[in-house]
């Protein structure tokens, strides 16, 4: 028990340090832009006094680390700044957008994981036979597919050639789907997003289960007379830890990397939010989004590590 607590403590410490580093990178991004950050915000003909005044107002005249600390302080208190473009608070907008992304990402994750696990397990138990080969092909296709292209292809098939589902948009006003129409809008993007997780998890589950099967204990279980179903259950329990870790990672990727699919489907999620910010050079929004998305990813990893440690005693160091 104590070992567990110490492990979690260490991991927490580690995570805090990483979050610190992440914030530095996110903050430092804008200073990668050649030139004065202010030049982006103002038209070039702006009078000098205005430029100087804004410099002071935004704090650009202070040394870098002071700016960083000030920004960090604001972020930690929940204030991610104000959008240069819309003038709205970043935090509110971002949370909305993030919510929309989650509406996509979570079902996609669930779909991908369950499909991947089922197919992977089936393939492992039928090692060498046709089913295994077919599955391997599907999995590796899922992995190598540019998912944004898949989205387009699906739209072509299901919204153009055979107009059954909407081609884009979220329908309604955002948030959880409340109508049949909104659910229909979900289908294509969720399927698109689920491809890569399915491929990754499927392959991982297949190879892990194969490894477990090749050990002696499943045969021992069979000799003891356990029914097939129970044996599968035990095998899966052993194969679970690495799969869970990767699932967590995949969920993080889905949220952080959803921008491409969101662009295809015109889905107002955090990815599109960031996309807009990039094109408008809306620095505060960009910084805030990057920090939040990356932190989300880090926290998911932390949770995954903790859950893994709970399940698999070998993981605790």
């Amino acid at each position: 028990m104590i070992a567990m607590a110490r492990f979690i403590l260490l991991r927490l410490l580690h995570t805090v340090l990483i979050l610190f580093g992440v914030s530095i990178v996110a903050f430092g991004l804008i200073h990668l832009i050649p030139g004065n950050p202010l030049d982006i915000l103002l038209p070039p003909e702006a009078p000098k006094e205005v430029v100087e005044r804004l410099k002071v107002e935004f704090g650009f005249d202070k040394p870098l680390y002071v700016q960083y600390l000030a920004w960090l302080g604001r972020v930690l208190s929940g204030n991610l700044g104000t959008s240069v473009f819309t003038g709205l608070q970043v935090t509110g907008e971002l949370l909305n957008a993030l919510g929309n992304t989650l509406v996509l990402a979570v079902p996609a994750a669930l779909l991908g994981f369950s499909l991947g696990t089922t197919l992977g397990t089936l393939a492992a138990f039928n090692h060498g036979k046709a089913l295994d080969k077919v599955f391997s092909v599907i999995a590796i296709l899922g992995l190598s597919m540019p998912h944004y292209w898949l989205g387009i292809a699906l739209v072509v098939v299901f919204a153009v050639i055979w107009p059954v589902l909407p081609a884009a948009g979220m329908g309604g006003t955002g948030g959880l789907p409340t109508s049949w129409e909104e659910l229909r809008c979900l289908v294509l993007p969720v399927v698109t997003l689920s491809m890569i997780p399915m491929g990754v998890i499927g392959r991982l589950v297949r190879s892990t289960v194969l490894e477990v099967i090749s050990q002696e204990f499943p045969t021992a279980l069979e000799a003891k007379g356990l029914r097939r179903g129970r044996i599968v259950f035990h095998v899966l329990k052993n194969a679970a830890p690495p799969a869970l870790a990767v699932m967590g990672l995949q969920l993080g990727y889905l949220v952080g990397g959803s921008i491409l699919v969101e662009t295809v489907f015109n889905w107002p999620g955090s990815g599109q939010f960031m996309n807009l910010a990039i094109f408008r050079r809306d620095i505060p929004v960009l910084q805030g989004t990057v920090v939040v998305l990356a932190s989300f990813f880090v926290l998911i990893n932390l949770m995954v590590d903790v859950v893994q440690a709970l399940i698999d005693p070998r993981m605790r160091r």
Binding site: I2, A3, R6, F7, L10
Partner: protein, 222 residues
């Protein structure tokens, strides 16, 4: 077989009465997998105060049950693991002393034949290269000279150089690999050879061959 007059090795420093190797109070502790912070750390006393002396021209056998620290001691002698305490004196010179000899100089005079013949050979290198590695890199021998020495040694341990020099470890049997290990250890012309259970992984018949080989080695060096 008549024994030639033992020539004195020109590296000899103190004459026949000075011990070749003198070990005093060697200690090594490993922390057991325990608490991360604070608490009492449990230590495994792998080697706790080992002392002995080895005279020139003699053989010292260290026996003990498995896990008693023989391998660790062997590694400590070569400074492959850092001792926690104790001193090692080689032919009158302290190892690691400012006035003594460095670990590197020690290793040029003291070599070891490892127990696991398979994992102690680089799977990506030929037998010839493995044996020549020491002389080439540590002694700066030219490639041709190092290769010739390797082939001579292969011959001496009974592996025809023509057949074996270009082979890879995975193509050899256990006994053959152990001979390669011995050849490799001899390549640097050490004054002291440490054998860490060199034959325990081999069949009896092969073991007999290797022991004969080692006896010959011992009989003709200082």
């Amino acid at each position: 077989m008549s024994e030639p007059d033992r020539p004195t090795d020109r590296r000899d420093r103190g004459g026949p009465s000075q011990p070749l190797l003198l070990v005093r109070g060697l200690k090594k502790h490993f922390p057991a997998k325990g608490r991360l912070f604070g608490g009492r750390r449990e230590m495994v006393q792998a080697v706790d105060g080992v002392s002995f002396s080895l005279m020139k021209g003699t053989t010292l056998g260290v026996v003990g049950e498995s896990g008693c620290g023989k391998s660790t001691t062997a590694r400590l002698l070569l400074h492959l693991i850092e001792p926690d305490a104790g001193e090692i004196v080689f032919d009158g010179d302290g190892v690691g002393d400012p006035h003594g000899i460095s670990v590197r100089e020690l290793r040029l005079q003291m070599q070891m034949v490892f127990q696991d013949s398979y994992s102690s050979l680089n799977p990506r290198a030929t037998v010839g290269d493995i044996i020549a590695f020491g002389p080439r890199t540590a002694k700066g021998l030219a490639r041709q000279a190092a290769r010739e020495r390797a082939e001579r040694l292969l011959d001496q341990v009974g592996l025809g150089p023509v057949l074996f020099a270009r082979r890879y470890p995975h193509e050899l049997s256990g006994g053959q690999r152990q001979r390669v290990n011995i050849a490799r250890a001899l390549a640097l012309e050490p004054r002291l050879l440490i054998l860490d259970e060199a034959v325990s992984a081999l069949d009896k018949s092969v073991e007999a061959q290797i022991l004969n080989l080692l006896a010959l080695c011992g009989a003709s060096s200082t």
